[in-house]
């Protein structure tokens, strides 16, 4: 076999086979920013918060799914304003499940993807509704770059591209990226669910919910890198490891199998360092190139009582890293991972 086909064969094998191994534990110091249980005013309690975004000013925006609203906090966790409530007319948000459905741009305009009546709603930083536009399918994640281009990851069984891009006014611009499983079907749909975040150079990082890969795309949609991380061994019993392959999933696209690996969210800081949150209590740290630098489990302040579903930071140089707990309505922060 000549070297080039050999390289192609090795690459194709590497992209369909994952690594499953034990992940070490590391100590992370998480300081509370907002604890719903300690809020006396019922208005200040979060109910199943599903998404979080951090603005340039340090303000923290929380998609409070159970109360169908967005809550704006200052960097110390003080309540500033709520918006998008059910009585707020065309700017009312609807419960969106556990989608990573909120992003903030450089001017702190807030973008929310509503999966119920698929559309994107845009507010200014004070919570004033600007406008919305419709989508032909719901999305699982939303990201915005410095040009205010909106990147959405569709949640659809239809064989289509991975990323859809719209202008800030809602005009469809382009689509790109290959899905993990190109056929249609419920398992294929689940495997193709993705989360996305932009870096300071407008590159887009995409992670799949249940496959251990981080892709880096240029702003135009060219695939720049494709790096694997490790699936924590406690998620998949030894007897089933051989079955966790894209080839098997592609052969059974309508299977009811629910993949145990869950990549909740991805976020990039001002230096280009990225973070993935896996299965509530694991972190993958990756370099600006997308290459994995470290991966570890951590112990939450209230151990398994904390169910983290988002990790988020901002492109601001000294922004802390926030963790959102959907079960307790708690937000914690750390300066370093």
């Amino acid at each position: 076999m000549t070297p080039i086909p050999l390289v192609i064969l090795i690459w194709s094998l590497a992209s369909t086979v994952q690594t499953i191994s034990v992940i070490s534990q590391a100590r992370v110091s998480l300081a509370p920013v907002y604890l719903s249980s300690q809020q006396r005013d019922a208005k200040l309690k979060l109910a199943g918060p599903a998404a979080i975004a951090v603005g340039r000013s340090g303000s923290v925006y929380v998609f409070d799914d159970g109360n169908s609203r967005i809550v704006k906090l200052d960097s110390s966790g003080k309540f500033i304003v709520e918006f998008g409530q059910p009585d707020s007319g065309p700017g009312a948000v609807r419960p969106g499940g556990l989608n990573d459905s909120m992003a903030v741009d450089e001017d702190e305009n807030v973008y929310v993807s509503d999966p119920t009546t698929p559309r994107v709603l845009i507010y200014n930083s004070d919570g004033r509704f600007q406008h919305s536009f419709r989508l032909p399918f719901p999305s699982t994640s939303i990201a915005v770059n410095r040009k205010r281009e909106i990147f959405l990851t569709p949640d659809t069984a239809r064989p289509t591209e991975l990323i859809y891009v719209f202008s800030a006014t809602g005009k469809f611009l382009r689509r790109f990226g290959e899905r993990l499983i190109t056929s249609s079907g419920s398992l294929a749909r689940n495997m193709n669910i993705a989360v996305a975040a932009c870096d300071a150079e407008d590159n887009l990082f995409v992670a799949f919910r249940s496959w251990p890969v981080i892709r880096k795309y240029s702003p135009e949609g060219k695939l720049l890198s494709d790096n694997q991380f490790t699936i924590p061994s406690e998620l998949i019993p030894d007897s089933q490891r051989g079955n966790y392959s894209l080839e098997l999933f592609a052969k059974n696209p309508d299977s009811a199998f629910i993949p145990p690996l869950i990549t909740h969210s991805v976020s990039i800081n001002g230096r280009g360092t990225g973070y993935l949150l896996l299965n509530a209590h694991s972190i993958v740290v990756f370099a600006p190139s997308g290459k994995v630098s470290t991966q570890f489990r951590f112990r939450a302040p209230r151990d398994r009582e904390n169910v983290f579903i988002r990790v988020v930071t901002s492109l601001h140089a000294k922004a802390p890293i926030y963790f959102l707990d959907t079960r307790s309505g708690e937000i914690y922060q750390t300066s370093k991972l």
Binding site: T116, F137, P138, K171, F172
Partner: protein
Amino acid sequence: MLIRLTLLLVLTSFIIGCHLSAASPSREVANSFSHVKLTTASGDHSPIPLGNKLTVVNLFYEFSAGCPTGNRFEALERFHSLNPDAPIVLIFSGNQFSTQDIDNFKAILPMPESLVQGDIEAVKPHLISGKLLVVLDSTGNVIWHERAGMSEQQVMSQVGELLHSASR
């Protein structure tokens, strides 16, 4: 006697089941539908373009792939591939979908030539899960429409049968 009654019941069911077009459209739906108009690029209203025989029209007040309305779109997509000559018009409510939304849908979804914006407010009370499929004759009269409780398969097979009958 019991056997005769049973036979009569079976025969009646068979006749009704085999002559779906015999289920006459509701007068309210037909009257409401006469007010449906397409919205042109200039903002004017225009009538629904009709085929030589039958035209399939689906109204969307809501739309999402993965939801009932999206399943309808995918069913119509399959239907269109099997009946490429059948005129299909998919009208999205102008109150819910902007002109830009429709342009985006045309750029993203299959059957772009069938996607149009329109005024469907008059039919809103008759929508089923945010949508309604009707079949029009060559003069624009509603000769069939879906009813609550019908499955996607029933809707598409009945429409297919109507088109097949009309083409003979």
